[in-house]
């Protein structure tokens, strides 16, 4: 009976490992900025990314009639980090503007380095921006 339970435990461990290998966390950090009220909201959906990358600062302005946002990200680690980020834009009704034209760009952060990422709206109708940060390993 003991031998049987050992075998079952081994099988369960193997099954658990095989499932775990394919799992990559794709949730990340979201920074939502309302350019009309100036309010910013940070949502950290990944505990791992939260411990690696911090949002230091959010600034915004307007150029040639287009909203622009500057967000400073800082690495809390001493090693090199690779993350992807995307800045999407929304109109006054909360509809995302041309979602396919805004891509995930890669960002390499050296140990304890902070970098500012910038996004310009793709339409004069944009009033809200949303920065999404994810680990590069999530870009399958």
């Amino acid at each position: 009976m003991k031998r049987m339970s050992e075998r079952l435990a081994a099988a369960a461990l193997a099954a658990g490992l095989s499932v775990g290998v394919g799992c990559v966390e794709t949730a990340g950090t979201i920074v939502r900025t309302d350019h009309t009220t100036g309010s910013s909201e940070i949502l950290e959906n990944s505990t791992r990314l939260r411990d690696e990358v911090q949002v230091l600062n959010v600034n915004y302005d307007e150029v040639n009639g287009m909203k622009r946002v500057h967000i400073t990200l800082a690495s809390t680690k001493h090693r090199r980090l690779r993350v992807d980020y995307q800045i999407a834009w929304y109109d006054a009704n909360g509809m995302e503007i041309d979602p396919d034209t805004k891509t995930y760009r890669n960002l390499i952060l050296e140990g304890r380095e902070s970098r500012t990422v910038t996004g310009v709206a793709n339409s004069p109708a944009a009033v809200t921006s949303r920065l999404r940060v994810r680990s590069t390993s999530a870009a399958d």
Binding site: N64, D100, R105, S123
Partner: protein
């Protein structure tokens, strides 16, 4: 108990073998911005470049000054490919034109479709099918006031099993009347790939 274990193993074996019966490759849709697979230029590189160039052009202070509150007529020339790879440069300029068009800062003409314009105007004037009062007459099209052009260049170094590849997209916006360069920007991409020690 022993019989049950054997039965379970049999079912598991059958389930595994069923998966081997098909010979079609596994196909799935993936993200447009996936991680790089080769050191060559890939779709995500092009998408990021187009987005970066469009953002840079739209937010450049010199462009606002040159535009001066009007929406100038712009033509986008295909980028010159100075690399050894085949890259669809027309597709890149099409994407850039689309993004700039949506910004509302410019109006556009397309020199590459002028031949088709002539065919239409010629047909309307000469075939007798179109109401002569409604037929579009030649010589009324807008003239391009500015044009956008550029080039893609590369540098490649190989050391042992490692390939270091560098690409540079450079673009300029030129005012046709003054001949001045109103805006210029470039985007660099550097990739490294290492072949495994074993394998082909």
């Amino acid at each position: 108990m022993k019989t049950f274990v054997w039965m379970a193993m049999g079912v598991a074996g059958a389930a595994l073998l069923t998966g081997c019966a098909t010979s079609t490759p596994a196909v799935r849709e993936v993200q447009l911005d996936r991680s790089p697979m080769t050191h060559k230029l890939e779709p995500q590189d092009v998408r990021r470049t187009v987005e970066k160039m469009a953002e840079s052009l739209v937010s450049a202070p010199g462009v606002k000054e040159a535009v001066g509150g009007t929406r100038p007529v712009l033509d986008v020339e295909p980028l010159k490919n100075r690399t050894t790879q085949h890259v669809d440069m027309v597709s890149i300029t099409d994407s850039l034109r689309m993004q700039l068009l949506r910004s509302g800062l410019f109006r556009f003409v397309d020199k590459s479709t002028s031949g088709t314009d002539i065919e239409f105007i010629d047909a309307q004037a000469n075939l007798g099918l179109t109401d002569p009062k409604k037929a579009i007459k030649a010589g009324q099209q807008s003239a391009a006031q500015m044009y956008l052009t550029g080039a893609l260049s590369e540098m490649k170094n190989q050391v042992g099993r490692t390939v270091d590849q560098y690409y540079k997209f450079s673009m300029i916006l030129k005012d046709l009347r003054s001949g001045e360069i109103v805006w210029a920007d470039e985007r660099e991409i550097r990739k490294e790939s290492t072949r495994p020690r074993v394998g082909f």
